[in-house]
């Protein structure tokens, strides 16, 4: 049976939302799935709102359009909640994953009555602690895998280690930090079911 998961990423230029969508595509591919990972391109610059997408399926993917009714939404920067309609079209049986220091209840008024699950994670804190820099996309990636259940978490971690080893071949010292950020994110992600 065809199983399709569609994900929309909201971030600001420079925060790595596009990279997160490509990393998710990468890791899903390595588990044998059909994948698409693509950003919406325009005159982007640092700090401007950007959107990226994932389609992940057990069957070949043919549609080449943006995603309007995602199963899951990731918000890499909670200041976007005030300016971007992040829950537009988001399915209620799905979930939204937000990088924030705030309690989910505080964010509710900004989510336009969204009735699905709300996952929150302090990705800034985790990445500062584990990687030494504010790179929220690595913890966000783990939080999205946790929320969407697109793959087994241990399988995800194993594949990510291989992927980081390849990506950081010239600076292997950062692999452990990134792996620690993923594990910590999987532990610290909180869910609010209203």
């Amino acid at each position: 049976m065809k199983k399709l998961t569609e994900i929309r990423w909201h971030g600001r230029g420079g925060q790595g939302a596009k990279t997160a969508s490509l990393l998710l595509a990468d890791v899903a591919f390595s588990t044998g799935m059909y994948i698409q990972g693509f950003p919406e391109y325009g005159p982007e610059r640092m700090g401007a709102p950007i959107t990226a997408y994932n389609r992940l399926s057990n069957e070949p993917l043919r549609v080449h359009s943006n995603i309007y009714e995602p199963d899951f939404v990731a918000v890499v920067d909670d200041t976007l909640l005030e300016s971007v309609d992040v829950t537009a079209g988001l399915k209620e049986e799905g979930a939204i994953v937000i990088n924030t220091k705030k309690d989910p209840k505080e964010l509710l008024p900004l989510l336009k009555g969204y009735k699905g699950k709300i996952y929150t994670i302090d990705a800034a804190k985790i990445s500062l602690e584990c990687i030494g820099k504010n790179i929220p996309n690595t913890p966000m990636l783990a939080a999205m895998v946790h929320a969407s259940k697109v793959m087994d978490e241990q399988l995800f971690l194993d594949n990510m280690r291989a992927s980081f080893k390849h990506k950081f071949a010239t600076k292997p010292e950062v692999v452990d930090g990134n792996m620690k950020a993923l594990s910590m994110a999987l532990e610290e992600v909180k869910v609010y079911e209203g």
Partner: protein
């Protein structure tokens, strides 16, 4: 064993070029094709290719460098988009009329203005009469497969024409998809060495290229050029068959999807063909006999294949991702209508302009088009000469 990979369209085409390892690449960066010369430069710097990269100051020069190199006897390639292709315009004709089989990765992007970096087909469609073979891809896999075949098609002794391997800017060029690569030794064996019959650096046969042509000869040279384009039809089919033996993937002038008993058809080019297939499956589930003709090869134009595929169809929507500003529709609309003239009776043919400047094309849009052409058949009304799809009034 094929190699399963996840690549963007630009990465896939760059990898094909690396596998082919041509003699010369001359290119000037322009979004969204910039990554291709960037990746190739990296491959060369890493010692993974022995290609001579000619860094030029413009696209007029990149095509000029390819013309010079190819005439000298070197397999030459370039990549461009949009205004870059427009800036090559003069040299495109020189390449084709001098019968130089240069291969170009054309990453389709809207022409200015208003200035826009996103996808439509106005760039390559603007060059449709330049004498280049044009082959369009639906996804990264096809962009890769087509590029490899294009080299063989252009260099074939019955053809000797330059080839544009087109893909949709950003939509496929920058989207990472799962695809299959072919082993490098197989690609190299398929493409083979470039051994032109005539070339400038041959000391045994003195040759002039690009000479003045008087009215006494010019038409005969043009006739020879058009014959070469006609020959390309069979060559494209033959090379597709040969390619299938190394890839397992079938290609032809057009691809028909669920056309066997279709009453309503769409003719489309490029990445939206995939979106249309999804829409057609949904329509079929709802009992609508919908089908798709994807035009893979636009030059030479597959007029017989399209006319044959449309036999028995009640209505067709012809989708143009560019406006030719003829005030009569787009180029695909005009050519499909010409192809069915006198061949298919009583077919309602509607021409849509869609997806300009990156306007997103959704499954819902395709279904709307099928609704509209079905309604035309039901009401007995004739379609507008052409119309813009899902436009804000």
């Amino acid at each position: 064993m094929a190699i399963s990979e996840r690549l963007s369209g630009n990465e896939a085409v760059s990898f094909a070029i690396k596998q082919i390892n041509p003699d010369v690449v001359a290119a000037f960066p322009i979004t969204p094709s910039t990554e291709i010369p960037q990746f190739i430069s990296q491959y060369i710097a890493n010692g993974e290719m022995t290609t001579v990269y000619v860094p030029v100051e413009s696209e007029h020069s990149s095509m000029s460098a390819c013309v010079g190199a190819q005439a000298a006897g070197a397999r030459s390639m370039t990549a461009t988009s949009s205004c870059g292709l427009a800036y090559m315009f003069e040299m495109l004709y020189i390449a084709a009329s001098n019968r130089l089989p240069i291969t170009m990765a054309c990453v389709n992007r809207a022409l200015s203005g208003p200035i826009n970096i996103n996808n439509d087909h106005s760039d390559s469609m603007g060059a449709r009469d330049a004498g280049w073979i044009q082959i369009y891809a639906e996804n990264a896999q096809e962009a890769y497969d087509n590029f490899i075949q294009c080299v063989r098609i252009g260099e074939h002794k019955d053809v000797h024409l330059p080839v544009m391997a087109c893909q949709d800017g950003f939509i496929t060029s920058h989207a990472v998809e799962r695809m299959e690569l072919i082993e490098t030794d197989k690609v190299k064996a398929f493409v083979g060495e470039y051994n032109p019959e005539k070339y400038l650096l041959n000391p045994d046969e003195i040759l002039a290229v690009g000479t003045y042509d008087t009215p006494q000869y010019y038409m005969e040279h043009k006739k020879a050029q058009t014959e070469a384009m006609k020959n390309a039809r069979q060559v494209i089919k033959d090379i597709a068959k040969e390619f299938e033996t190394i890839s397992g993937r079938k290609y032809d002038m057009i691809e028909e999807y669920r056309m066997e008993d279709a009453e309503y058809a769409m003719v489309i080019i490029g990445s939206s063909a995939g979106t249309a297939k999804e829409a057609i499956d949904e329509l079929r589930t709802a009992g609508v006999k919908a089908g798709l003709i994807k035009v893979r090869v636009f030059r030479p134009f597959p007029l017989e294949e399209i006319a044959a595929a449309l036999k028995g169809v009640k209505a067709v929507a012809i989708m143009d991702k560019t406006d030719s500003f003829s005030a009569a529709g787009g180029p695909l609309g005009a050519e499909v209508k010409a192809a069915i003239y006198g061949k298919v009776d009583g077919l309602v043919a509607a021409n849509y302009i869609y997806g300009l400047g990156g306007r997103d094309v959704r499954v819902e849009h395709i279904k709307l088009v099928f609704d509209e052409i079905a309604e035309l058949v039901k009401s007995g009304k004739q379609p507008e000469t052409y119309k813009y799809l899902a436009i804000r009034e």
